[in-house]
Every structure is written in structure tokens, then in C-alpha cells.
């Protein structure tokens, strides 16, 4: 009878684990953060303030091809993105644009649900800012270990970019 209890335990536990794993794989595909950076267009001049002080986590994509800046119909000013809700708090960014070039990204709000989230945000924000200034778009790689902050940051950024018409 003990053997039956063991078999039953193994079977039911495996079933529960397999179901959980399957749901996780479907709803949170692991490769999503890595697939974004492939098509990062490099159209920006590097005139913006790049004094983020962050450790450059990612190399600049195609930095050699410095295209001529298209300053014809460039917008200027500051644009505030919509706040993006994450499980660990809202994320909201503001961009400063001069003649169609993003010159600064300021984080108005970062994941702050708990101590750990604050730690993660503080680490991820400078990295993301640097990446965005370099790429001049929201098509940058997520910061590893800060998936939620990154997702929220880039979502809010995209909304600001849309307002700026970039």
C-alpha cells in the first residue's frame, strides 16, 4: 500500500509540475528579450548627453554606419510617455528631443514595489537609457534580470516616441 502512495504521489506531482511548466513556457517564452535587438536601426547622431555613468552592458549595434541625420522635419521638446503597469509597480519615462534626436531619457517612475525592485530598477535604468540613446529607438535589448523594468521602460518610451512622431 505504501508503494501505491509513492506511485500516486510521483504521478500527481509530475502532472502538476508539467502543467505549470507548460503554462510558463507558453505565456513567458524565454527568448523574447533576445529577439528584439536584431533589427535595431542606427539613425541617431551621438550628440546627446551620454554621461549615464552606467556600465555599457551591450555593445552599440552597427556603430560604424553613421548615417547622415535626417533633421528636416525633426520635432523638439520633451515628451512624457504613458505609465506602463508592471507586477512590481508603474514605469514612466520622459524623453527630451532636439531636431528629431533623442538627447535624454529621464525615468519619472520605476518599479518600486519592494526593496528588491528598487535595487533592480536602479541598476537597469542607466543601462536602458544608454541603450536607447545609442539606438535612438525602443528597439533595444532587455536588461538581464530586470525583465519587468525593461518591458515597462520600453513600453512607456514607445508611447513617448509616438507623441514626438519619431
Amino acid at each position: 500500500m505504501r508503494r501505491r502512495a509513492i506511485v500516486l504521489s510521483i504521478l500527481s506531482s509530475s502532472a502538476v509540475l508539467a502543467a505549470g511548466w507548460q503554462v510558463g513556457v507558453v505565456t513567458h517564452p524565454q527568448s523574447v528579450s533576445q529577439s528584439l535587438d536584431a533589427a535595431a536601426p542606427a539613425t541617431g547622431s551621438t550628440s546627446g548627453s551620454t554621461t549615464g555613468g552606467a556600465t555599457a552592458a551591450t555593445p552599440t549595434p552597427s556603430s560604424a554606419a553613421a548615417a547622415t541625420p535626417q533633421q528636416a522635419a525633426g520635432a523638439s521638446g520633451t515628451f512624457t510617455g504613458a505609465a506602463a503597469q508592471t507586477r512590481f509597480g508603474a514605469v514612466q519615462v520622459q524623453i527630451t528631443v532636439a531636431d528629431g534626436t533623442i538627447t535624454d531619457v529621464a525615468a519619472l517612475q520605476l518599479t518600486d514595489h519592494d526593496q528588491r525592485s528598487v535595487q533592480i530598477s536602479n541598476r537597469a535604468a542607466p543601462v536602458l537609457r544608454q541603450e536607447v540613446l545609442t539606438a535612438q529607438s525602443a528597439n533595444v535589448q532587455n536588461v538581464s534580470g530586470a525583465t519587468y523594468t525593461s518591458d515597462g521602460y520600453l513600453t512607456s518610451l514607445q508611447s513617448a516616441l509616438d507623441q514626438a512622431g519619431l
Binding site: A5, S13, V32
Partner: protein, 469 residues
């Protein structure tokens, strides 16, 4: 000249189908309960995976962090399972018995502690790696997090509880000290709860995970509140139990006669015990598990106890009129739990008490039972005269075996019986077609069970009540 035919084998007693079915059903329920315990652990991990736990793992730091989270989830789930096992849920007591549940509880203790320790360690290292700092700085940073000081306090309490429960240490403390420390485990679990809800990112609001965990906490603490506190308090108040008389029946052994209202509504099965507390200045702080030595009637109950410790020594001096509170009745050393149509009983010393009430309750037919009473000498033959007078024992043999065990030999029998070639099957010819009930000191009972198993008796037909208190 006539040929003597060989004696035909004893016709197998047709098992009472009702008993066998009930017994099978109980075993199936027990298996299901074990599976449920482990499935709840699997559920904790599965929910973590379902909410994208695996997708977070990209490098060593996040791998260690994920491992830290999983060990924390599994460890906490085990602790909550332990609390449920210790909550004296009636369904658990009825199916496997509270002592079996507590044996499982004890086996989970150390693994749960190791998992919680690993949880703290792995997360600290994982965070330190991710932030590029060292373990000490990270620990200080963590300590300043919300509710984290409480969480560390919980960890400290948990270590104290497990260390004090390790048997070697436990023997050095009086039982009450060990028990008081053990109650800290409730505090340990509760002070760790806030950090799981605030800092524990996996329990974020609005997730099924949070629902599952809160439900598990409510189940564990709810069942403890109800079945360890509320039910005993209500029961004690309703039945208003008091000591009616204290009857010394042998040196160091007393029967306590109790009175109360509607004691039959406790629905005590013969062979069960309860945990008693006698409200006098000297005894109120110590609860005693004591078996019923008679089936309670509407107005009266009787328990019999041998003094084994300081606490139970004082019971002989309890005055009539003393208020008594009761937790229980508990136990599956009952006729209800028999799976075959015959009964074999071995009782030693004070182990006679549950046996007497079990036999009284059973309403046995002639030829249904065989009883062996065991004592070292005549002073230990407690209640033997009452066994013979039970209606259940009419037409059922009662044997006695008196005398010390032989030195240096692992046997439950007396030296004299051993020398006569007595074996468990010679005493109980129908052993394999019966359920064996054993009650006596643990090491002695283990030897009876060893012989019964060697004779081929399956565990499902062995019932044992151990007297260690």
C-alpha cells in the same frame, strides 16, 4: 484398520466483507493524503513556473536567484503541510491516526529547515552576483528591505525550533520547555509571512499564486485554531468534566473517575485516548495523553494512568471536584479500524488500558478473540480481573504470561515462556486471519510486531498504541 487422515488445514475464516472494504477504503484515503501532501509541494513549484519563473533564468546570478525562490517556496509549503499534520484534523486522525501523522511531521522538520536556509543563502548569493557586490553588503542591503528583519527573525526561530526538537537535545530539556519552544514555530511562520507578500515578488497581487498561498496559510492556521483550540475549549466547557474519584489500583497507578454532561456525545470509541489537563495549581500547565480504560457513559468516564514523570505523578493527588479539560478523543486503536473477522490482542503493563476499553466496545462473539496479557510480575497485572468479566470475552480465551524477559535476548516474551517454546503463532493460531492489537512500551511492542511480521502478518492488520509518556 482405518487410515488416519491428515488433519485438514484450518478452514480460512471468511473475512467480514464490510470490514475489509472499509479497511481498503481507509488505506486508499491514506495514500491519497500522502499524494496530496506532495502535490501541494509540486503545486508551489508549478505556479512559480507557470508565472514565468523559468524565463527569468538567463545567467548564473538569475539561476541562483530562481533556485533560491524555489527552495523558499518548497520549504514554506512543507512547513505549512507540517502545521496541517499537527492540527489534529479529525479526518487525518480517522484515516491514519494522529501518531502516524506526527511521525510524518517529524520527518519533514529537518528537510524544511534546510530548504529555508538554502533559500536565504542562494538568494543572497544570486542578488550579490547580479548587483556585482559581495555577500556581506548584500545581506546588509537585504536586511534593510521591507519586512526583512522579521523574516530573519523567523529564520532564527525556525532554527531554534528544529534544534530543540532533535531528539538528543530534547532529552535534556523538560517536556514543557521543548513544547514551549515548539510553539514558537507558529510565530516563526507568521513573522516570515509579510516578507513573502511584500518582498516576495512571486506572490505579487492579482496572481493565482497569491491565491494559492493565502489559501494554504488559511488552511494551516485555520485548522490549528479550530481543532487545537476552539473545539477543545468548546468541548471542555460543554461537557463540564470534573474528577469524581481517584482510585489507586496498584503502586503508582491510579484510575481517575470523571463525571460530566453527555459524555457519550464525545462518541469515544473503545481504545481511544484524549489529552487531559487538570486545573489545579500543580498540574494545569501539563497536558497528559491518557487512554480511556472504560467506554464513557452519559455521565461518567474513566481513565487509568501510571506515573512515568513528575507531571503524571501529581495526578494521583488530584482532588475530587477538580475541573478537567479535554482534547480529543483521538486514536485508531479501535475495533472500528479492524479489517478481518478475528481479533488477537497483546497488552503489557499499563498498555492494558486502551485494550480494556477496546474489548469492551467491540461486542465480540465467542471464538472471535484471543487475548494475551503480559506482565513482569503480579504487581503489573492492572485491570486483569476486569478483562475476564467483560461480556466480549465470553467464550474467548485469555492467556497470561508473567515473568522477566531473558537477559541479552531481543524478545517480548518471558524467559519461562521462551523456554517452553511459546511463539506468537502458538498463542494466536489464527494470527494471519486476524487483526493484531499491541499495546505496551515501545521497544517491547516493536518486538511483538517484528514476530508478527515474520509470521506473515501484513501491516494493515497490525494496530499498535505506544506508551512513551
Amino acid at each position: 484398520m482405518s487410515l488416519r487422515t491428515a488433519p485438514s488445514p484450518v478452514a480460512r475464516v471468511v473475512a467480514d466483507p464490510g470490514r475489509r472494504i472499509r479497511s481498503r477504503r481507509r488505506l486508499r484515503a491514506a495514500d491519497l493524503m500522502v499524494a496530496l501532501c506532495w502535490s501541494s509541494v509540486a503545486m508551489a513549484v508549478a505556479l512559480y513556473l507557470a508565472y514565468g519563473g523559468l524565463a527569468q533564468v538567463t545567467d548564473l546570478a538569475s539561476g541562483l536567484t530562481a533556485a533560491g525562490i524555489v527552495t523558499g517556496l518548497v520549504g514554506t509549503d512543507l512547513i505549512l503541510v507540517m502545521l496541517v499534520l499537527a492540527a489534529r484534523l479529525p479526518v487525518i486522525d480517522r484515516i491514519v491516526g494522529q501518531d502516524t501523522a506526527m511521525a510524518f511531521h517529524r520527518r519533514l522538520g529537518k528537510p524544511a529547515l534546510y530548504l529555508i536556509l538554502a533559500h536565504g543563502l542562494l538568494l543572497t548569493i544570486g542578488y550579490a552576483l547580479a548587483d556585482g557586490s559581495n555577500v556581506v553588503t548584500e545581506t546588509i542591503a537585504l536586511f534593510q528591505g521591507p519586512d526583512m528583519a522579521l523574516a530573519y527573525l523567523g529564520l532564527g526561530l525556525l532554527v531554534a525550533v528544529v534544534v530543540s526538537s532533535v531528539v538528543a537535545v530534547r532529552r535534556r530539556f523538560p517536556y514543557e520547555v521543548w513544547h514551549a519552544i515548539h510553539l514558537l514555530s507558529y510565530a516563526a511562520v507568521l513573522v516570515a509571512l509579510p516578507h513573502q507578500l511584500s518582498a516576495g515578488a512571486v506572490l505579487a497581487e492579482g496572481t493565482l499564486q497569491r491565491v494559492y498561498w493565502i489559501a494554504l496559510y488559511v488552511l494551516a492556521f485555520g485548522s490549528i485554531a479550530v481543532f487545537r483550540f476552539l473545539v477543545p475549549i468548546v468541548r471542555s466547557a460543554r461537557h463540564d468534566i470534573r474528577v469524581a474519584a481517584v482510585e489507586p489500583i496498584a503502586p503508582g497507578v491510579v484510575s481517575l473517575h470523571l463525571t460530566g454532561h453527555q459524555l457519550d456525545r464525545l462518541q469515544t470509541q473503545g481504545g481511544q485516548y484524549a489529552i487531559w489537563r487538570f486545573w489545579t495549581g500543580a498540574t494545569w500547565w501539563h497536558a497528559h495523553p491518557i487512554s480511556f480504560s472504560a467506554v464513557p457513559t452519559d455521565r461518567s468516564a474513566r481513565i487509568t494512568v501510571r506515573s512515568l514523570g513528575r507531571g503524571s505523578d501529581a495526578l494521583g493527588r488530584v482532588r475530587p471536584g477538580t475541573r478537567v479539560s479535554i482534547e480529543g478523543p483521538y486514536g485508531i486503536f479501535t475495533d472500528e479500524h479492524r479489517s478481518t473477522s478475528k481479533v488477537s490482542v497483546v497488552a503489557a503493563g499499563i498498555g492494558i488500558t486502551p485494550v480494556r476499553s477496546m474489548l469492551e466496545h467491540a461486542a465480540l462473539r465467542p471464538g472471535e478473540a484471543t487475548v494475551l496479557l503480559r506482565a513482569t510480575d503480579a504487581t503489573q497485572s492492572y485491570l486483569w480481573n476486569e478483562i475476564g468479566a467483560l461480556p466480549s470475552m465470553r467464550g474467548n480465551p485469555i492467556f497470561s504470561m508473567m515473568g522477566a524477559r531473558p537477559r541479552g535476548l531481543a524478545t517480548w516474551m518471558s524467559a519461562e515462556a521462551l523456554s517452553r517454546g511459546v511463539t506468537i503463532t502458538s498463542v494466536f493460531p489464527d494470527l494471519l486471519q486476524s487483526d493484531l492489537y499491541v499495546c505496551g512500551p515501545q521497544s517491547w511492542a516493536d518486538l511483538v510486531i517484528r514476530d508478527a511480521r515474520a509470521a506473515g502478518l501484513p501491516d494493515s492488520q497490525i494496530h499498535v498504541e505506544r506508551f512513551d509518556w
